[in-house]
Amino acid sequence: MSARQETQTNGKARNNSALALGLALFVLALLILWVWVPLDTDSGLIEKVRRRWVIGDALAPSVAAVVLGLGGAFLALVALMGRAEPLDLSVSNVVFALAYLVLLVAAFHVMRWVGPGLVALSDQAQSYRSLRDTVPWKYLGFVSGGFLLVLASIVAVERRLSARAVLVALLAPLAIALIYDLPFDDLLLPPNGDL
């Protein structure tokens, strides 16, 4: 393939992706405007309340949908004119986002369950709720969840498990816990406010 043909193919691909994004957002805006706003809002665009006209709850979200729709339409138009900016998004980006979301959810589940789990396994007479502001219970969930999140992120970049990664993953949540917890009596570390 010649350089010129390759440039044309790349240009076409980036315009197609911009066109798809523009049209998708335009359709989303129409759905918000014609489906979500009417079905999920109590009042209309403007309403008569006690013989006075007032702006209803539907107007502002409708304006937002119009702005979004205009943006999508203009993006599609620009793509049709062949002047779209490249979109730096691929399937691998979506896979990364999903994988990282799984890691975040896993880390916060570890945070949520480690403390209560250890209380249940130990011979404690009290519940986790009554222990959640005492040492070491208040740190267990946060430090273990934080350790998992930081360690997995570093390992993903380094592609190996190193002693430095383990050390950073251990010290960082510990330091953050101490920064927030030691000076302030009224702050609760995650997840202790929910338990």
């Binding site: 209803g56 979200p61 993006l75 609760l188």
Partner: protein, 535 residues
Amino acid sequence: MGFWDHLWLGVAAVFTASPAFELLGLPVSTTVIMIASGFGVGIVVGATPGLAGPMAMAIALPILISVFGVSADALLPVLGFLIGIMKGATIGGAVPAILFNTPGTPDALLTTFDGYPMAKKGQARKALKAAHFASASGDTFSDLVLFTSAPFLAIMVERFLDLPEKTGLIILSLSFIAAVVGNSAAKGLISAGLGLLAAYIGKGEDFYPRLSLGQDALADGFPVVTAVLGVLILGEVFKGIEDLVRSGPQSPTRSQAVSKADSRFGWKEVVLCWPYIRTSALIGTAIGALPGIGSTLAATLGYASGRRSHARKYPDQPKFGTGRIEGVAATEAANSAVSGANLIPVLSLGIPGNAAAVFLILAMDSIGGFNPGPSVFKLQGGVVGEGINPELVVVFGIFTAMMVANALNWSLGGLFMRSVGVMAHIPKHLLLPVILLLTLTAIYVQLTSMAGVYMAIGFGLLGYFMRRVGVSVLPFVIAFILGRNLEETARQAFAATGGDVWFLFHSPIAFAFVLASVVVVTLALWRPGARKKPN
């Protein structure tokens, strides 16, 4: 109480309120200590590639609120610390740019063009001194413009703009930000539309919380901190981690040896750089006063203007980009001059112009007692009256805090700046996961709810995808913050005009604002992709 009384009370609030300790018999106030601490943190953050002033402001805010609470006394120490970070980060960004060819902040990119070649020639200290001098000059000039122009702008707004005009002004600000931020006006509109939509979920005037899908968690809408920190900070961290996962850990940057052989920055150099600093300070201030246009564009324009002027004046000398001290000065004066002027729309109109201003507004909103906008400049009771406008006292307190930060910048900033080069050695792949955990913890301690953390992660993913498809996140954040204000003002204007649906078109000024909004967006759409990406 008159102008001078308010001014004096503002100055006194910074220097005498709640003294922390005594130094040589003189009380040192908590606010002054917070400004100095924020300034130091800002320089360190600015000198660390991968960190930025807004990130530090986001992480610091919940800690500050925990320390100082949400009483009126908390405003100046908290704002002082945040202002210190904002100013410190601006000069800190030049350090790795000069020593390692790695800009600490995006707006220091152009500092590498001449700063790093100077460092290679053994003139690193000279370049750092020039960057500091230019930065402090630009910043001080910009602050003086803020002090003189913000009150007049606010008085004009209060005198000439009624509710329909104020609605028109918010529409114009949003349109302007959507049109000029990023590299495409269409994408700016998408970003602003999404921000408005997120702002309007939940709450509303009806008993049923609109667009809440029947979920209790959405009934009160998204907390500001989840949307702002999610899109602005978490989105950036997700993208940064993915980039590192794909590229692998970056090898530590090597600095050029800091030779003391040619480190002199005396009158000769000041005279050489001054014309470039002057022009760049004007450019940076003008850019900074416009909402949404970042310091990167100011630095680009300042550098380009300096390069043209230098090539015209000295056609026989080596050009910018080859290690000219004037190039460093032109860039640093321009990007630093943005920070003070950025507060003009914040204080006089209540409209945040950049990410740092967003966090100042967030702090004001969290603490309460200060609603930025034209009313803060009112002299309650008139010049000879006896009433005090506490908001005007806070404004003068903020101005004083900025001058204290400038004094620190001029006296100690250069010294401190030259000692933080080591921060560029911290590997980004170790730093970003820690920032992520720190930000999520900051969100949790503010909201004490895992639901808030999950909302922030959701916004973080939105911010990540927006960055991936080239949609700037700043219009989203500003639209989210201004969305409720826009609706409230429009509701009041509609009611005040007796339910006139054309209220925006009957007043000439409001109509001019709406027309200008259409023109700004149309002009920006006319040349898609032709503009350089500012931030």
